[in-house]
């Protein structure tokens, strides 16, 4: 039998779990205080839903669940590989939310401000902060087109990150429609938009020259490439966009959003326009966000507006926007920083002989009322080694049953 966890998943030791629980508590409390309500959806989803979800590359990374019993026999007999699985593990929390909203809409607030903190699964190549089983922390607002939604999502996500003390971060903002308007103004044809965006998304990795070479290779017209190069070689500000596309409604909305976030941030974090921000998922339709920290290569959160996804279930248009914290990446940052958890309970060991178990447990129960974490352990005749081990393992003190009323702290013993 194998004692290592499955590739890309992890076992978390008690000290790591304490940090993860603390982080999750801070994020959940911050989100609830801002008026968002938590829901829970299953990690298992219908294959049919997953496959039709516009999930982009994530669809290639799905863990599929084998059919069972007769259904499996039939699928095997048919020899059709695509029929082997009827269920899959979700690759994000946005698709399940859309399904949930369609099923429960009548019982939810309008707009519905929603928290999801839960696991998702992707069969990616694992690396630091990128797991195959990973926790995401999402807030979403469904049912409203108001830019207030974007503002609330950004301010609330930022508040959680500030409470977690991850250091300075930048929220990057764009609107997919701006990029598309610029591409159109440069002469990129409608049917080339998506493939051009895919190339532009690689700017950080392969640089401007790499992107332009890729575009030429894809057969984008020379004049369009030249116009695009000129735009992208410039400052790529919102003013530059307005100069190319005119001061349209999306430009104005983005301009106001940036200014409003600046005011709310009050210098506590940065906000920045990034014309090349695209995000991978196909379902985004308007504003897109990303969070960057100088402590982590790659984004530590992202999201955007996905006005079409919920409608796939409900048949009518439901505006929606969401922002997701990459929990595993924040966890990696805090672990590296050696984060001390504020307000951690003291750990006390009550030591007793086998015969004293019952009264020692009663004593331990009494000590717990003071807020300490108190466990009972059978004592050996000589205490020295045991005490050293307890101290090594992070206990704060001990009480030998029958000897005194209050625990003795290791910190005092050393003095």
């Amino acid at each position: 039998m194998k004692s290592t966890p499955v590739k890309g998943t992890a076992d978390y030791l008690p000290s790591q779990t304490l940090l993860r629980d603390y982080m999750q508590g801070v994020i959940l409390d911050t989100y609830r205080a801002a008026g968002f309500e938590r829901i829970l959806t299953p990690a298992i989803e219908h294959m049919e839903n997953l496959e039709k979800s516009d999930g982009g590359d994530n669809l290639n990374l799905m863990f599929k669940i084998l059919k069972r019993g007769e259904k499996l026999e039939k699928a095997l007999a048919a020899g059709d590989e695509s029929q082997l699985a009827d269920l899959g593990l979700r690759y994000d929390l946005t698709l399940p939310l859309s399904r949930f909203y369609a099923a429960n809409r009548a019982r939810l607030g309008n707009p519905f401000k929603c928290i999801q903190i839960d696991k998702s699964y992707r069969a990616e190549r694992p690396q630091k902060g990128r797991m195959r089983e990973f926790v995401q922390c999402d807030i979403d607002i469904l049912g409203s087109e108001s830019p207030l939604c974007e503002l609330e999502l950004i301010a609330t996500t930022a508040a959680a990150l500030q409470k977690l003390d991850i250091g300075r971060f930048t929220i990057k903002l764009n609107d997919r429609r701006l990029l598309k308007a610029c591409l159109a103004a440069c002469g990129v044809a409608d049917e080339q938009m998506d493939t051009v965006c895919v190339s532009l998304d690689k700017w950080d990795k392969i640089g401007g020259e790499g992107v332009m070479a890729e575009l030429a290779g894809k057969g984008i017209a020379e004049e369009a490439c030249a116009a695009l190069q000129k735009l992208l070689d410039g400052e790529r500000t919102l003013d530059a966009v307005a100069a190319v596309c005119g001061e349209n409604e999306v430009v104005q909305r983005t301009r106001k959003l940036l200014a409003d976030v600046q005011v709310l941030a009050a210098g506590g974090y940065d906000v920045e326009f990034d014309l090349l921000l695209v995000r991978g998922q196909g379902y985004y339709t308007g504003t897109v966000f990303e969070i960057q920290s100088n402590k982590f290569r790659g984004s530590i959160g992202g999201g955007g507006r996905y006005d079409g996804l919920v409608g796939k279930f409900t048949g009518e248009n439901v505006p929606a926007v969401g922002f997701s914290i990459g929990f595993e990446r924040i966890f990696a940052i805090l672990q590296e920083q050696g984060c001390e958890i504020p307000g951690r309970a003291r750990r006390i060991a009550v030591l007793c002989s086998e015969d004293e178990a019952v009264p020692a447990m009663q004593k331990a129960a009494a000590l717990r009322t003071g807020g300490d974490s108190v466990g009972v352990y059978i004592r050996p005749k000589k205490l020295g080694k045991l005490l050293n081990r307890l101290e090594e393992q992070g206990f704060d003190g001990y009480l030998v049953y029958g000897e005194g009323d209050q625990p003795r702290l290791f910190a005092e013993r050393q003095n």
Copy 2:
């Protein structure tokens, strides 16, 4: 696309999630206060481990994960159904704990007192309190043979249930070795033990006559059946067991455990010996527990000693004992009782026009410092309908931005 969740899994609305989070918080806090430490393990486990785990019937209820890429092609080409899956969803938290302990032993306390609160998966026929995706809350103690472990597990589990206010409950206790000793004394052959136990486990469902008929059908000797019938028709007390098997070590250990639990319970819950308690999993080796409540048909928790399981990974004997709360069943009980969550935050809506979004959000942030949950909403010109809807949705009050400094509570408006 399908808007209902996968069969046997559930969506949880905000009010249900609030209750589930509250329950999980109470259980986790109680377990941590008693000196147990939480760990996390992945929901995805190696198929190899699952298949060799002595999980009994649960092995037939596994969700298996399809291999990916070339490995899947190979398995399909080989036409071997058993080769299609390399991973599976765990059916409980005990097997992952054993693997975890084997992998991390050197960095853990000894004995290691461990909390696991997480999801498991079984493709069972769903019914009330029995889901295909479900949460279990386990505490386990690894590395000690002392009966102190059983005492701590029972007292700590009971403390959590008492704090959740689920009403009166009974902890049922047995030791598998006692039942086997009785069967041997009645003349059941060694190789018939397991099949006899399977029949005895059905006593509650098919009654004594049904069980005896089944035993006769299985070819158990007539004299053995008669002796067994005599024992089981009696009071089935520990004294009756001692009369059949003698006052051996296991009888004495069980006698003391029952007495000790009685003292610790101090009348707050009942504890009872039940000779016919077997538990399904094959890995149990000694004491077995179950919790019964008159509010739920079937057990709401269970566990026992599984001294052999960890050794399958480590190659050396590691004594272990665990107790698991059936979270979904407690959730079903509390939901039916209409549980009010103590200390729930007030929900306040700050209403503003689109233009006032930024100062309204600043006002909301200021109100949050009082512990309220405060969200911002765009106000229509006439407030009446919106206020009625907010009240229906469980808001406690509202503040129209610019009109007054403190929220107005709906409870006051009605007076």
